[in-house]
Assembly symmetry: C3
C-alpha cells in the first residue's frame, strides 16, 4: 500500500493543483495527498529536481508526482519510475531523475495505456489529465507494467557537479530557498576534501551582469555566525550553501539561481 501521494509543481498553490487533487480523490478516495512544493519557479526543472531530491526520502512509501513541464503538449513522453520505496510520476525532462537515483531507481516506464488517463487529455495540462490519474491508479495497486512499457533511456539531470581546477573549485547556484539561502551544486564530499569548518573562504559569484567577490567563513551551522554575517555551511541535504545568519544571502549578494560560484582553494 502506498496511499501517500505527494505533489511538486510550478503551479502555485492554485486551482491547478486542486484539480489534480480532485482527480486523485475521484480514483482513490483513500489517497493521502501531501504538497511538497508548488512554488517552484515557472518551468524551473533544476529547482524542482532539487526539491524532490531533498525531500522524498523523508516520506514513507509513496507515489511522488512532479510537474514542471515546459514541454507539455509536445512530443516529450510521460514517465513512471519504480524505486526501492517509492514511485515517481511526471514528464521525461530530468525533473524526476536525481530523486529516483537517490531513492534506488529500479525500472523506468513510458506511460502509454490510455485507460489510466482522464478521458479527455488536453495539450496544456498533463498534470491533471495524465500524471494525477496515473499516480492515483498506482497508489491503488495497479501494476506499472499495465500503465506503460519499460524503457531504458530517459533525459538525465545531475544536481551535484563541480569542476576542480588547480587553484579553484567551481559550481553553480541550483536553488535559493525561502530564507534566501543559496544552495550550490557542490556536494559535501568535495567541499570537505578541500576545506575545513572554520576556514575563511574566498568566493566569487558570477553571472552575465555581475561579479561579486567576498570572503566568508565556513561554519558548522548558521547559528555560529554573527547576526547578519554572510557565511557558508553544509545544508541539511548535503549541499554547500551560502547563508546569512538571521538574514538573506540572496538579498545581501543579489545573486540568483544559475550563477557560477568559484571558491579559491
Amino acid at each position: 500500500m502506498q496511499n501517500v501521494i505527494t505533489l511538486t509543481t510550478d503551479f502555485g498553490l492554485s486551482e491547478y493543483v486542486a484539480a489534480m487533487k480532485g482527480v486523485i480523490l475521484n480514483i482513490n478516495p483513500d489517497a493521502r495527498i501531501v504538497d511538497i512544493s508548488h512554488t517552484i519557479s515557472p518551468q524551473g526543472i533544476i529547482e524542482g529536481a532539487y526539491v524532490l531530491y531533498s525531500t522524498a526520502s523523508y516520506f514513507p512509501r509513496a507515489v511522488h508526482v512532479g510537474v514542471v513541464d515546459p514541454g507539455v503538449g509536445t512530443e516529450r513522453i510521460g514517465l513512471v519510475l519504480e524505486c526501492e520505496n517509492c514511485y515517481l510520476v511526471g514528464p521525461d525532462n530530468g525533473l524526476l531523475i536525481p530523486c529516483a537515483i537517490k531513492m534506488g531507481l529500479k525500472r523506468a516506464f513510458r506511460i502509454s495505456d490510455q485507460k489510466y488517463l482522464l478521458k479527455e487529455v488536453t495539450d496544456t495540462f498533463h498534470g491533471r489529465d495524465i500524471f494525477a490519474p496515473v499516480a492515483a491508479h498506482i497508489s491503488k495497486g495497479v501494476s506499472i507494467s499495465e500503465i506503460g512499457e519499460e524503457i531504458e533511456e530517459y533525459v538525465e539531470l545531475h544536481l551535484k557537479h563541480h569542476v576542480k581546477h588547480d587553484d579553484m573549485l567551481e559550481g553553480n547556484i541550483i536553488f535559493v530557498d525561502r530564507f534566501g539561502n543559496m544552495i550550490t551544486s557542490l556536494d559535501k564530499e568535495i567541499i570537505s576534501e578541500c576545506f575545513d569548518f572554520g576556514s575563511l573562504l574566498k568566493i566569487e559569484l558570477v553571472n552575465k551582469d555581475n561579479r561579486i567577490k567576498k570572503e566568508m567563513n565556513f561554519l558548522k551551522s548558521y547559528g555560529f555566525g554573527e547576526k547578519g554575517e554572510l557565511i557558508t555551511t553544509i545544508s541539511s541535504s548535503g549541499f554547500f550553501e551560502i547563508a546569512v545568519n538571521q538574514g538573506s544571502a540572496k538579498d545581501t549578494l543579489g545573486a540568483k539561481q544559475g550563477d557560477l560560484i568559484r571558491i579559491k582553494i
Copy 2:
C-alpha cells in the same frame, strides 16, 4: 457520504483558512479538507467564481466552500446550493453561481438556523463562523432543509460573455493565472465559430491607462508556439486565453483582470 470539503478563499494560505479547518474537524473529524485556492485577489468575486467553476467538476462528491466576501458584516445572506453531485456554501454575491450551474443546480437555500453555526458569530469572519460549520454539518449528512429555507432568487454572475459586432468580437480578461496566462470571458464555442486554429488574430487590449494592439497566432497549445511568442489558445476549461510559450503574457502585455479584449473578425 461527501467527506470531501474544499475551500476557495481570498485569505492566503493563512491562519484564517486554518481556523476554518479547525472548525470543520471539530464538527466532522473524518472530513477530508482540500484547498482549491486561497490566492484569489482580495475581494475578487469573478476570479473566485472562475476558480470554482473550472475546478469543482474534477472532484468526487464534495461540499465546496467559497469565501470571497466584501459584504461580510452587512445584510447579504449566506447560501447553500444543492447540485447534482456537490453542495456549494458561501455568500450570496455571485461567487458560487457559475460553478453551481455547471454542476447542475437543483435548489438554493438561505442559511438561517443558528444551531449549525459557531456559538459566537462575528461580523468580520463568516468563513469560520458560518460557512465552515455549515459545510461540516452537511458533510456529516445534516439535511440542508434543516439548515435554512429554500429561496428562488440570488445574485447572478456570468463568466462567459461576449459582444459580437460586425467586425469585432469583444469580451474581458476574467482571470490571470500563476503563469501569467490571461483567461478571457470568450468561450470556445464563439471563438471556434469565428476563427480556426492557425489563424493570425488582431487583438486589442484596453483599460483606462492603456491600449495595446498585437497580432497573435491562434494555436492548439502553448507548445506549438515559439519560445517567448505571444499566442492565443483555448484553456483547459474551454476559455479563450492569451499566453506566452515558456513565458508570461501578463508580464509581456502589462494587461490585467478586467481589461477589455477586442478581436478583429
Copy 3:
C-alpha cells in the same frame, strides 16, 4: 487520541514543510496534518505567536507544532507544553507561550530523549529533525514524560500589552494580515474601557522613519465603513485593529509590524 497535528512555521509552503510532513507520516501514518500558516515573516516570533494564539482554539484535540526559530543550532532548548486540550511543540523562544496560556497550560517539558528524534539531527533544521518526530510520537500516545523532563522556566512572551497615559493609550502593531489589516497589542478590554463604537479616534503611528497622524472611526465591523475608509474595529480574536473597508490599511498607511500606535483618550 489526537491525530490532528498542525504546523506553523516561517518556511513558506515549501519542501521544508513537506519534509516535516514526511517525517510525521513515517511515524504516525494516521496523522491528519493541517497547515496553520507557513507565511510567518522569516524569524517573526511575535507574528508566529499571534497566529498560534488566534487559531489553535478552533481545533479539536491536537498537537500544534510551531517553528519560528532564529536560535536553531545554538543552545536554546526544545519544548513540549501540555495544555487542557492540546500539546504544543517547538523552540523555547516565546513562540508557543501566548497560545499555551490561552489553551490552559498545565506542564512544560524540555525535549531530551534522543530516541524520539530523527537519527541524524542537523544544526539547521530542528523542525524536521526534532519537533516533527516528537509531535508524531505524542500524537501516537507516547507520554511526554518519556520524551523529556519537566521544567519550571521558559522564555516568556506577551502579545497583549498597553501603556495608559493620562491622555493617551499606547501599544504596537503586532501583525499585518493578508488583507493589510493591522492587528495591535491593544486588547478589547482596555479599548472598550476607553472608547465606544461610533467614536472618532485620533491615532498616531510611529516608527523610526515615519510619523502618521489620522482620525479614524471606531466601528463594529469593516462593513459599516465607507468603501476605502480607514477605520478601526475589534478583530475576530479580540485585538484592536486598523482596517480599510474593501482595501488595505497597510498600503494606505505604509505602517508595519512593530510600529508604535498611540490613541488620544
